[in-house]
C-alpha cells in the first residue's frame, strides 16, 4: 500500500514537472512577444525521444549515466515532503540526506558524460561542479537559521511547526529567503547560471553525445529536479500546509526563475561563482546574524 502511494507521488511529480517545463516555454515565448509551443509540449518531446529506434552509446558507463541521474533524483524525491499533507519517507531522513542525495544525480550524469570522450561534456561537468561551490553554500546558509529557529533538522517538522500564512519562516527571515531564492536560481540552472549546459558555447555540455532514450531520461530528470529543488525552497521558507499550496508555491517560484531566465544573458563561470560570494553571501550572513541577535 505504501509502495503504491510512493509510486503515485512519483508519477504525479513527473507529470507536473513536465507540465511546468511546457508552461515555462510558453511564458518565455510570451515575454519574447510570440506565441510559443502548446503547454503540453514537454510530453511530446519526451515521447518522441523514447520512440527513437537506434541511438549511439559510448559504453556501459555512458549508458548508465542518465539512468543513475534519474535514479538519484527519484530517490531524493522520496525523502522530500510535498507539503504538510503528503509525507513520503520524510521520517527516515532529514535535510542532510536530501542534500547529499541531490548530488547522486549529477554525479551519475558526470560519470556518464565523462565517458562521452568529448571535451565539451567534461568542460560542462567541470563548470557544473564549480558552480556548486557558489550556490550550494548560499543555499545551505540560507536554510540554516530556519532549521535552528525551529530546533530540528527534519524538513517535515519545519513545515509543521511553521503553520499558515503569517507565520512563514520566509517572512521572519526575509534576508535568508532572498539569498535562498538567488541560490535556487543557480541550482535550477537557469540563466544567468546555465554555464553547464551553455548550448552556444560548449554544444550543450554534458548532453553533447546523448540522444534518443538517454535524452528522454535526462528530460525526466530535469522535470523531477524542478519540483524537488523548488520544493526544498518552498518547504523551508513557506511551509505549505497541504499539497495544493505546495504545487502552487513551486509553480510561482519556478515562473519567477523562468522570467529571469528569459531576460538575462549568461555569466562567465568565474563571474558566476564570484557573484555568489558577493551580495548573496552578505544576505545570508546577515540572516544568520539576525538569528543570533534578533529572533
Amino acid at each position: 500500500m505504501k509502495i503504491l502511494i510512493l509510486a503515485g507521488y512519483w508519477i504525479l511529480v513527473t507529470i507536473l514537472g513536465l507540465l511546468y517545463m511546457g508552461i515555462a516555454r510558453k511564458v518565455t515565448a510570451r515575454i519574447h512577444n510570440r506565441y510559443g509551443p502548446p503547454f503540453y509540449q514537454a510530453f511530446l518531446d519526451v515521447l518522441k525521444l523514447f520512440s527513437k529506434r537506434e541511438t549511439a552509446s559510448h559504453g556501459v558507463m555512458h549508458s548508465l549515466g542518465p539512468v543513475i541521474a534519474f535514479a538519484g533524483i527519484s530517490a531524493t524525491l522520496l525523502f522530500m515532503p510535498l507539503g504538510k499533507g503528503a509525507p513520503v519517507l520524510h521520517f527516515q531522513g532529514d535535510l542532510f540526506v536530501v542534500l547529499y542525495l541531490l548530488v547522486v544525480g549529477p554525479l551519475g550524469m558526470a560519470l556518464g558524460a565523462g565517458e562521452s570522450n568529448n571535451p565539451n561534456a567534461t568542460i560542462g561537468i567541470a563548470r557544473a561542479l564549480s558552480l556548486m561551490l557558489g550556490y550550494e553554500i548560499i543555499l545551505f546558509m540560507a536554510t540554516l537559521p530556519v532549521f535552528v529557529h525551529y530546533g530540528t533538522a527534519s524538513i517535515y517538522d519545519v513545515i509543521v511547526k511553521q503553520g499558515a500564512f503569517p507565520n512563514w519562516a520566509g517572512l521572519k527571515y526575509p534576508l535568508s529567503m532572498l539569498g535562498g531564492l538567488i541560490a535556487l536560481h543557480g541550482l535550477l540552472g537557469e540563466k544567468p547560471f546555465d554555464q553547464p549546459i551553455a548550448p552556444h558555447e560548449i554544444a550543450s555540455g554534458p548532453m553533447v553525445e546523448y540522444g534518443g532514450k538517454y535524452l528522454g531520461l535526462l528530460q525526466l530528470w530535469h522535470a523531477i529536479g524542478i519540483i524537488v529543488e523548488t520544493g526544498l525552497f518552498i518547504n523551508v521558507f513557506f511551509g505549505p500546509q497541504n499539497i495544493v499550496w505546495f504545487f502552487a508555491g513551486t509553480f510561482i517560484v519556478f515562473m519567477l526563475a523562468v522570467i529571469v531566465n528569459a531576460l538575462m544573458p549568461r555569466f562567465r563561470i568565474e563571474q558566476a561563482v564570484r557573484f555568489y560570494w558577493g551580495v548573496p553571501l552578505i544576505l545570508v550572513v546577515l540572516g544568520i546574524l539576525q538569528y543570533y541577535f534578533w529572533r
Partner: protein
C-alpha cells in the same frame, strides 16, 4: 503507436547546422515574428539530439563530406529537408563543377522547398507538410538509406574518399 507518430511530428528538433547561404532565413523563422517554436520545432546543438537535417542552400563537395558525417550520427528515425532551389537542381550555381545538383543520389531527402531563398512562411509550410507525412507514416526515406546503403556509398565514392568520411561502425 499512433501516439509516438504524433509526438514525432509535433516535436521536430533540427540540427543547427547552416550548410549554405539559405541559412540566413533560419533566424527570422526561429524568432518572434514567424516563431516556428509554436509548432514544436527547436534548434539543437548536436546531431545526436536532433531529428531533422536542413540542407540550407547550395551544397558543395566539401560540405557534403561533413553533411554525411552529421547525417550518419543522427539517431533514427531521421528526416532531411532540402532547402532552396540549389538543392533541387543546382539553382543559380547550375554550371559549377563543385555544387551538387542532384541531392537524392547522396542522402535521402524527404522534402524540397524551392525558392532563392524561401520565405519563412514557406519554411513553416514545409515543416507542417513534413509533420503530416510523419503522422501518415510516409516519411520513410531514412529506411531507404539503410537498405540501399551500398548504392548511396557508391555514388558518394565518385566524389570523395568514403573510407574516411563516414561514421565508423
Amino acid at each position: 503507436m499512433g501516439l509516438f507518430k504524433i509526438s514525432q511530428g509535433r516535436s521536430l528538433w533540427m540540427v543547427h547546422f547552416c550548410t549554405g547561404c539559405g541559412a540566413v532565413e533560419m533566424p527570422p523563422t526561429m524568432t518572434s515574428r514567424f516563431d516556428m517554436e509554436r509548432f514544436g520545432i527547436a534548434p539543437m546543438a548536436t546531431p545526436r539530439q536532433a531529428d531533422v537535417l536542413l540542407i540550407t542552400g547550395y551544397l558543395t563537395v566539401k560540405t557534403l563530406k561533413r553533411v554525411i558525417m552529421v547525417y550518419e550520427q543522427m539517431p533514427t528515425p531521421r528526416y532531411v529537408i532540402g532547402f532552396g532551389s540549389c538543392t533541387v537542381n543546382g539553382g543559380i550555381y547550375w554550371d559549377s563543377y563543385n555544387v551538387i545538383k542532384n541531392l537524392d543520389l547522396y542522402i535521402p531527402v524527404d522534402l524540397y522547398i524551392f525558392g532563392c531563398m524561401p520565405r519563412p512562411e514557406s519554411i513553416i509550410d514545409a515543416f507542417i507538410k513534413l509533420r503530416k507525412m510523419i503522422e501518415e507514416g510516409k516519411a520513410n526515406k531514412w529506411k531507404d538509406y539503410i537498405e540501399r546503403y551500398d548504392w548511396y556509398k557508391q555514388n558518394q565514392a565518385k566524389l570523395f574518399d568514403i573510407n574516411k568520411w563516414r561514421v565508423q561502425k
